[in-house]
């Protein structure tokens, strides 16, 4: 019944922020229709794309996501009338900001998936997973997370000597 499970060297972690009215229902439809899609995606349900704060995306990257997907209702279909219109502007700005700071925007995907588009959900998730898999792990934010000192410049010979004398 199940497709043969392929072994990969790297399984990316994908976090999907989805709106409950469209994409979550779309993903549900994909599930009930027994469509197969990569299990790398972790779905987080929100009332609306307008509720998805850019901070969530940052935090996902910081806490180890290799890719982030944000998905909601098509323009005009928002349950709250205009949530996705506002989200669209906000994410356009946020993408520009991340790009300016030097984040690879290929790891951040936005999409509109309606409740009837189970197939599109599968397609979007598969494509992002494969793209991120080819790109390898997201190292930038994880490196920041691992750094303890607020300044990497604190590495003078004197300090080094003092450090070695106490260890």
């Amino acid at each position: 019944m199940h497709a043969e499970k392929l072994q990969h060297d790297f399984e990316p972690k994908i976090v999907a922020f989805v709106c409950t009215w469209c994409t979550y229902a779309g993903a549900d439809l994909a599930g009930t229709s027994r469509m197969q899609y990569p299990a790398n995606v972790r779905v987080l349900k929100f009332p609306c794309t307008g509720r998805i704060d850019p901070v969530f995306i940052l935090r996902a990257f910081q806490k180890g996501a290799d890719g982030v997907l944000v998905s909601g209702c098509h323009p005009g279909d928002c349950h709250y009338m205009a949530g996705n219109f506002h989200a669209r502007r906000r994410f356009a700005a946020f993408r520009a900001l991340l790009g300016f700071v030097g984040v690879d925007l290929e790891r951040l995907q936005f999409s509109w998936v309606s409740a009837a588009e189970g197939g599109k959900w599968v397609e979007v998730v598969t494509e992002l997973t494969e793209k991120v898999r080819a790109m390898g792990p997201m190292k930038e934010f994880k490196a920041l997370e691992d750094e303890e000192q607020w300044s990497g410049a604190l590495n003078t010979p004197e300090l080094r000597e003092a450090f070695e004398s106490i260890t």
């Binding site: 940052l58 669209r88 994410f91 356009a92 700005a93 930038e140 607020w150 990497g152």
Partner: protein, 314 residues
Amino acid sequence: MNAKAEKIRVASIDPSYYQAVTDAIRTEAVKLLSEEAVVAVVGYLPGRRIGTAVPGLVTTPEQAQQLIFSPACVNNLSLYLTKAKKGVLKKGKVAIIAKGCDLRALAGLMGESQVKKEDIYTIGIACAGVFGANSDRKGGLTEASIARKCRECTVHQPEGVDLLVGTLPELPQLTALEAQELARLEALTPEERWAYWKEQFSKCIRCLACRQVCPFCYCEQCLCDKNRPQALESSPRPAGNTAWHIVRAMHLAGRCGGCAECERVCPMDIPLNLLNRRMAMELKELYDYEASMVPQEKGPLTRYQEDDDQSFIK
């Protein structure tokens, strides 16, 4: 408007210009206070050292005689209408002295219903520029000591103010250092830009001076102070610093008036205004929005159009 066209190369600004502005401010402040048209004037007072200035709140005509304007008047006074001096506004009308860049912040605050137009009396200054942070102020305002934001100022002449003081002297044409730096960063690869910002943000000690000095950071509780759930780490570590500066730039996108106070107060000299400028450029390009000296009802991120660009969305 025509100020830019008139710019020619001169060594420094004539001191009599500052004297004239100072006199005009004093006359107006005394008049307003003695007529009781306003309860207070937010302006600049001389600092304790010669050649310095501090923000001050003046309530009597006698005190108003001490108001000054000099290139050391760097502060954006609109800050005093939102947070620290919030109580003052309730008692009556307040007069405020505003340079062009401060006026954009003031207009932004009016647009966000933080300040009511009828509650304030704006004294706009035709501003020739102010000192940069840590500059040598001995020789007056020169090309070496002028603030980076003033080098490419487009708002020398205030608009929509209750009273305009000063006539703009001839201004030197200066190279736009900030725009050059922005262009340089834009031309780098994403990896190089990440390395640049990583180094800049790693300097951050999280004193939050950038937040405290920003007229638009008026939230009673800041997102970055919240725990449970914690949105971003509060200790000065690289992870939290990067998140803080990205979030700060994001929250100011479409609101920032470009007074560059954040950059001025930063003790670690992080070029914060580059982030703000970049966002302003983006919003101008995408939604044709620019911060202006007259209040706009809505910012670019609080309104929308059905046909907004969505080429990045699948």
